[in-house]
Symmetry: C2
Subunit: 694 residues, 2 copies
């Protein structure tokens, strides 16, 4: 509730800020209109998808009409909330971008205030909606199904609640992929168009794809990411609740303290995130990165401290974790003190932090990985590509070891529930992390608006400072997202095993291994679809830009009064994104369903494991290679020394590095970040059908 009040007040404050010159207002309105028209088109298609999926969900569960009705309800609520989270974020972002640009004309501090405020509204919106939906539906289903307080009833409550998570993650996947295709088709298209066709820079207002490019930041990096994190937040909390059912004081304890704990931790994290918003302030000439880090740290430390008290008070002093055998008997698997769950949370935070540091190292300018790509740009575009692929592959090594240690460590400390709580602890401060993440594209957009409306160079300098900070925070956010996805996926996987009564999933069983092989392939096929969609759409964009330069007289010469036809470019991106997001999105839902019903839980379990391992590695490979290529290119903007010679923007060596950046675009913003959702969505789909295939 507090969250919604904050959002309302803060939006009103942003709306009151000045929008600057008429030209700025005009451009920002074009962007806002383009973004809104994409969202409308997207939600129209997703509405149809939700209707069909709801019917199928109903048909799927004919055996249990009562549950199935509520799964359908939860699914629709999850989907609508997810869409709303994206919508709020995008709406605020398109208000904040131009106002940030205007503020940057006079003050860096004010510009940070506005852009970060935009981020906080989205962050607050996502977590408030998530908490609200989970809590209300949980209370409802608990009232309906949990009459006598048995494990079976509680399991049913949570199985129905999984529908909420399924709705959220489905929309997240489509929004991420659709938004990712949109933004990168426009970005790559604008880039190439300028280079191939007319030799004008990317942000030049004569380039007809330039508005689509800025719209893309809003629909991909803001709305897509909002839906993505909404889904992650919800599924992490839910998976932890499922595993909490069998954590008790003893075999006869039916108080389910461990089921409500994740909700409490999420609520605490939300409060402290909002409190931490107020420490993000920077003096004129100060370092915005330090301010953001301070806010993040405050939120994490306060949440960690508070979670100590909550965990030790809510959980029984000695917890017993059980496993349910096929015949319904409880088998004790772990016994630990409640404080161990606090240690699990700390391990989760440490894993997230370490992976962020490693991610940053691999993508940061001036460090060994990016410098090696810079040097390999010397000979040809081909060596630049080889260098980036090699760095991306290498970058999977340390995170894999950290993740594996984190999984095993939190398991040893607190059992399967410990692993899930590690993820839940990481996700508790989603509010501020999303605020930090979303501020990046707002600042990026502000820079674009400043450039296009011809504001003085100093303004662009201010927004560039914020944009650069945004790139770093994006890398850190990705690290957290991957780490939490891995832990959440393991929790979902354990929940799947629980519900299907699979006591083991033996890799040496050829059926399981066959499932793993096919599962491991899915992230490849999915990435292939997403990447090639960007390639195709970007190609169409280039053709359209060429057509406009050919047919609109005076456009290239920049004659006054002649304007590019931005809308056709926006339409191309919109249509391509909507068309191309369907197939990969459906694959994530259909494949586990078909495999589960056709081959049973063991093969499906193998498939899930394959998707998990292969998807995590491909996510890191693609995101980090893309980030490193991007910053290798950016290095030339400041000038770099290779073998004693300086190279700058515009040199042939810089041009070689642009090839890598372009290849990296769909890697890091379309297919890479979709992997997390793909993994979790596959798991959730399996979880939903688990009772029917057991």
């Amino acid at each position: 509730m507090l969250g919604f009040v904050y959002m309302f007040l803060r939006s009103a404050w942003i709306s009151k800020q000045s929008v600057g010159t008429d030209e700025m207002d005009r451009i920002s309105k074009l962007i806002a209109k383009g973004a809104m028209s994409f969202l409308k088109a997207e939600y129209r298609v997703l509405g149809i998808f939700i209707a069909i999926a709801t019917v199928l969900l109903g048909a799927l569960s004919l055996t249990d009409a009562n549950s199935s009705l509520f799964i359908m309800l939860a699914f629709v609520v999850g989907a609508v909330f997810s869409g709303t989270a994206g919508f709020i974020g995008m709406r605020v972002a398109t208000l904040a971008n131009v106002r940030t640009a205007q503020a940057a004309r006079t003050s860096l501090s004010k510009a940070l205030d506005i852009s970060f405020a935009g981020g906080t509204i989205m962050g607050t919106g996502v977590v408030s909606l998530g908490l609200l939906g989970l809590t209300l539906l949980y209370l409802l289903f608990n009232y309906l199904f949990n009459q006598t307080g048995t494990d079976a009833e509680m399991m049913r409550v949570l199985n129905v609640l999984t529908g909420f998570s399924l709705g959220a993650e489905s929309i997240a996947l489509f929004a991420r992929v659709g938004g990712g295709i949109y933004t990168k088709a426009a970005d790559v298209g604008a880039d190439l168009a300028g280079k191939v066709v007319a030799g004008i820079p990317e942000d030049d207002p004569r380039n007809p794809a330039v508005i689509a490019d800025n719209v893309g930041d809003n629909v991909g990096d803001v709305a897509g990411m909002g839906a993505d994190l909404f889904g992650s937040y919800v599924s992490t909390v839910l998976a932890t609740m499922v595993l909490g059912v069998l954590v008790k004081a003893d075999q006869n304890d039916n108080s389910y303290a461990a089921v409500t704990l994740p909700l409490l931790i999420a609520a605490i994290g939300t409060l402290f995130s909002m409190a931490a918003f107020f420490v993000v302030k920077v003096k004129e000439g100060g370092n915005p990165q330090a301010a953001l880090n301070r806010g993040n740290l405050v939120a994490i430390v306060l949440t960690a401290i508070a979670s100590y008290f909550v965990i030790t008070n809510v959980l029984p002093e000695t917890c017993q974790e059980f496993k349910k055998t096929a015949d319904g008997a409880l088998v004790l698997t772990h016994t630990y003190a409640s404080i161990n769950i606090f240690f699990s949370v700390l391990i989760g935070l440490a894993v997230g932090g370490l992976i962020s540091v490693i991610t940053e190292y691999y993508c940061a300018m001036g460090k060994r990985p990016v410098l090696s790509i810079v040097r390999q740009s010397l000979s040809s575009p081909a060596t630049n590509i080889i260098g980036g692929i090699s760095i991306g592959m290498e970058s999977t090594a340390l995170p894999a070891i950290v993740l594996a240690s984190g999984i095993v460590g939190s398991y040893m400390v607190g059992g399967l529930f410990g692993v899930a709580m590690a993820a839940a602890g990481m996700m508790a401060t989603t509010g501020i992390q999303l605020a930090i993440d979303a501020f990046g594209p707002i600042a990026d957009n502000a820079g674009g608006i400043a450039e296009m409306s011809g504001l003085p160079k100093e303004v662009r300098k201010n927004t560039d400072v914020l944009d650069a900070v945004g790139n770093t925070t994006a890398a850190i956010g990705k690290g957290f997202a991957i780490a939490s996805a891995a832990l959440t996926a393991l929790a979902l996987f354990a929940a799947f095993m629980e519900i299907t009564h699979l006591e083991e999933l033996n890799i040496a069983d050829p059926k399981v291994l066959g499932g793993m092989l096919v599962g491991g392939m899915i992230p490849y096929l999915f990435s292939s679809m997403a990447i090639s969609a960007v390639g195709r759409a970007a190609g169409a964009m280039v053709q359209e830009v060429a057509r406009q330069f050919r047919e609109i007289k005076g456009l290239l010469a920049g004659e006054p009064g002649v304007s590019a036809d931005y809308e056709t470019c926006i339409t191309i991106s919109t249509q391509a994104a909507i068309r191309e997001m369907m197939l990969p999105g459906l694959m994530a839902l259909v494949v586990p369903t078909v495999v589960g019903f056709a081959f049973g839980p063991a093969v499906l379990g193998g498939l899930l494991a394959g998707v998990l391992v292969s998807g995590l590695l491909l996510a890191m490979f693609q995101s980090n290679a893309g980030g490193a290529w991007d910053n290798a290119k950016k290095s030339f903007e400041a000038g770099v020394e290779i073998n004693g010679q300086m190279y700058y923007k515009g040199s042939d060596v810089h041009k070689n590095s642009v090839v890598g950046d372009t290849v990296g675009d769909p890697f890091k913003d379309t297919s890479g970040p979709s992997m997390n959702i793909l993994i979790k969505l596959t798991m959730i789909m399996a979880l939903i059908i688990a009772p029917y295939i057991a």
Copy 2:
């Protein structure tokens, strides 16, 4: 024995053929010398490695001094035989290349005869050495350890024999990676040097890297591949023998018919391969591809028919497959008729055939995948790269499904032994398959020699026909290699479970999952090392070529009497290959050993599964992307139509496609084909240490 006689006679026949002009002789001697000097340098380093590894193997098995001594013996024999296989192949190839070029001056048919004869010698050598080593050592160890004919004794015999496989696969990995780095450093270096520095074509004798490039074909595609297939052959047969121990008529049957069966099938396959050599003949103007396919088909069909009689006669009519529990009791897992094993062999052949067809589809000119890359070359090098990566990722889909079906199918028909026999059936005709594979680089080299010694264009046309056929057969060979590696790896994996008495390897156990995650990362790290090694070495090569053009007066102008300093380029490739092959090679041996001893068999088992799944997918992704990029570039040499306009070699669009080809070079010839060996070597290493960590 027959094999060695054939090799001797056939080599003598090749030696008698004319070497053509003095210039041809001179160039071929340069190539032969370069190849030999690389092999010498490589074997010197590998000698040291073998010495150290042997000592470590001894130390490793202090608990059982008697076995360990013989594991060491087997290891050394395996390593030496593997090196010999590579040496024979390379020796013959460097004799046959110039003679093929000379024959191509007058007759395509004669040129095919000589180049294919070169291949058959290598093919025969590899399988004869493999059979000889396996049989002699098996007889020796059986005599030494198998006194009373119990399962435990037989297991010990095979555990010791695994040393042979370890030696073979270790050398294979180093030879593949070293050869792969050598050949691609020279190839990419020569390519870029010509383009960046002087604008002269790749095969121009003025290009100082040109001889190194031709040497590379011999050390990478011939010697490296020979060692590779020697290793695959040996480990497949061995893994099948291990699984054969527990396939009996009944619990008390100690005749071990299923242990000798794989050796018999291998022997039959060798005989029919050699018989099939004689049907590979082409009339003048005929189609060499058809001749090779005919040979391959004859060998496969004859072997399949013969194996029916062998299997049904050797195996008990009803086979029972057992599993040994930790306390030594036998548990019946499968019962099937002996003919089922024949069906398993047929499934194996079908899987290999299907995967070859799919591989060919993804890499063939004129088909949808390559054409899509061709079209995406239109806008920029970046879209060409995006297109190739997307196709490579997509190309994992069907093979993964075929492999999974093959694994499950052969398991359902014939248990774990059935899976292994499917692989053994596929590998039985290695003799002719290797001959077909090795003929490609010989023809490629012949073309290079023709070009460098200024022979008329028609000669090059003849060798180009053979070279193009070689590209297709290479793709088919890769399909078989991947399919057999997958099945063999599963058999090795099952053997590992057997020896460690692990009854299950539960993916839901976080320790196992942690192992999988780290295991899945290893192929990425390995590929990263291999690819970046090529990038670095190619960079050094470009620098050296630039230096020579700068410092050797008259070289660029092509003044008579001025010759490039080929040897320095050869030295650069040699040193880079030797230096850079060590780290990835050692990783494959050290990581499983350390993980196994530090964390026990469950984590190691998870690691193996991760390496298997991730390695197979990366192998297909890299090999197919590389092949498709290569042929997309080649498409421009004939001219292609895009949107109604024709594009030829030398156009900007063609240049865009060259970038993809260069990126694909290390993918398809260095890291991609190493994946199979990496997977099997990790498994074998685990198998060796299995008794000590159980």
